[in-house]
Subunit: 260 residues, 2 copies
């Protein structure tokens, strides 16, 4: 279907990368400058627009966070978005990012990036459980948690199936040919569910904060909601990049438009 769009995948990978950077910065600013501790609460508004301050703050905050093992909960959104979703998205797009690279190389990058994404996702989920257990919060009752556990399980099954069928030992050629479109389709289904889970997580956390008194129309609420919108657009760009062809043939009878 997307092959009929008449455009190639590469521009969508550029858009996806720009949106990935935006989403990563937004979730870091949220978790570190809004949620990261008292030291960063004082001048939030300036920090959002002050890149030098954000860099210093990022470094200090990561050191503080991992050394003191404080506030595991807020490691969860960072690992899930940057580790799990963005790395997984890069894995999905890799064939379109480097269309001229040797196919075996891109396949190896594809499966390694997905493996790292799953591991970081699992650590991120561990952080959520750890935070819940240490704070006396119930586990696994929300749609976010259900979809999240279901999605990472399907993601792992998809990875194992892909490894066995397409990498080692590899299925017979006609099985691979038949299985590939299902691998793409099921992979994109799991990917879209992952994005939906992220949206649910952003909304859930913000709803908890707002029911504890956070301003419904404040800077933090808007930042988190806009992060949700950026993640949705990012996911759309990744899906189009995945289904659009790496190369588009000129239709017959059309002269290419001169560049200058």
């Amino acid at each position: 279907m997307a092959a009929g769009l008449g455009v190639k995948a590469a521009p969508f990978t550029y858009v996806a990368h720009a949106l990935a950077v935006a989403a990563a910065v937004m979730v870091l600013v949220w978790c570190i400058s809004f949620r990261g501790g008292l030291a960063f609460e004082a001048d939030n508004k300036n920090l959002i627009f002050n890149y030098a301050a954000i860099t210093i703050m990022l470094y200090e905050s990561i050191v503080t966070r991992y050394c003191n093992k404080l506030d595991e909960y807020m490691v969860h959104p960072v690992l899930m978005l940057i580790g799990y979703i963005i790395l997984g998205s890069e894995a999905i797009m890799i064939y379109k990012i480097f269309p001229k690279l040797n196919h075996d190389t891109t396949k190896l990058i594809h499966l390694i990036l997905h493996a790292i994404a799953i591991v970081l996702g699992a650590v991120g989920i561990y952080c959520a459980f750890k935070f819940h257990n240490e704070s006396g919060i119930a586990n696994l009752y929300s749609l976010h948690s259900w979809l999240g556990i279901g999605t990472i399980s399907l993601y792992g099954i998809q990875w194992i199936f892909g490894f066995v069928a397409f990498f080692y030992p590899g299925a017979a050629p006609h099985v691979r040919r038949g299985a590939l479109p299902w691998h793409v389709l099921f992979g994109l289904f799991v990917y879209v569910l992952t994005l939906a889970t992220a949206e649910l997580g952003l909304l859930e956390k913000l709803t908890f904060l707002q029911s504890s008194g956070l301003d419904k129309y404040g800077a933090e609420a808007f930042l988190v909601n806009f992060t949700g919108l950026v993640v949705a657009l990012f996911g759309a760009a990744v899906v189009v990049a995945a289904v659009a062809p790496a190369h588009v043939e000129e239709p017959e009878g059309y002269a290419p438009i001169p560049v200058n």
Copy 2:
């Protein structure tokens, strides 16, 4: 891409219909038997498994609801799921449900179903605002509301564009040919965003109820979460039905498998 799956769309439309019925029943049971008023609170557990009782209850509840104009809020999920999402899904699948019907007829059904879906969706959104305003609840601060308003706006724009380009007055043939895959792609993007909005709405409402004391692992929580899962699977079936071909050609050199 889905054309390479080697299966035709029809079976996915059957799966989608079964899931649509399941989701519709689930949201009705939720809104009527769990949320519908004191009269239905007494024997919830029996009602879930008692179809006769549900039918009577449905009738009584709809009469009570619309005559007394009580509890507008719970009309919102019913209209959004059954009116907006399920009717819109039927509109998307119509070309695959009736592949042998005259193309102009299916196109007319497609645009009429989408129009009804948008109107019912708009009424459903009106119910949410009305409920908020009469209960002193803030409007348009959540990701659910942002995505929802954005999605129905894009849906309307898509409808107007489709009407003008493909129905009346209709664009030039080469423009239509070029625009059709974008119509499908953008339509599916809006559709998936609509599903994501529904998931956010289910989670948001349940989170509010749970923060007011509803059992996190109770029957109602499980019903709403499972409704979310069914809606996700339903959406996947609709998307596959939309992109899979109506007919699949036998690959060359393959004898068809005998039926008996």
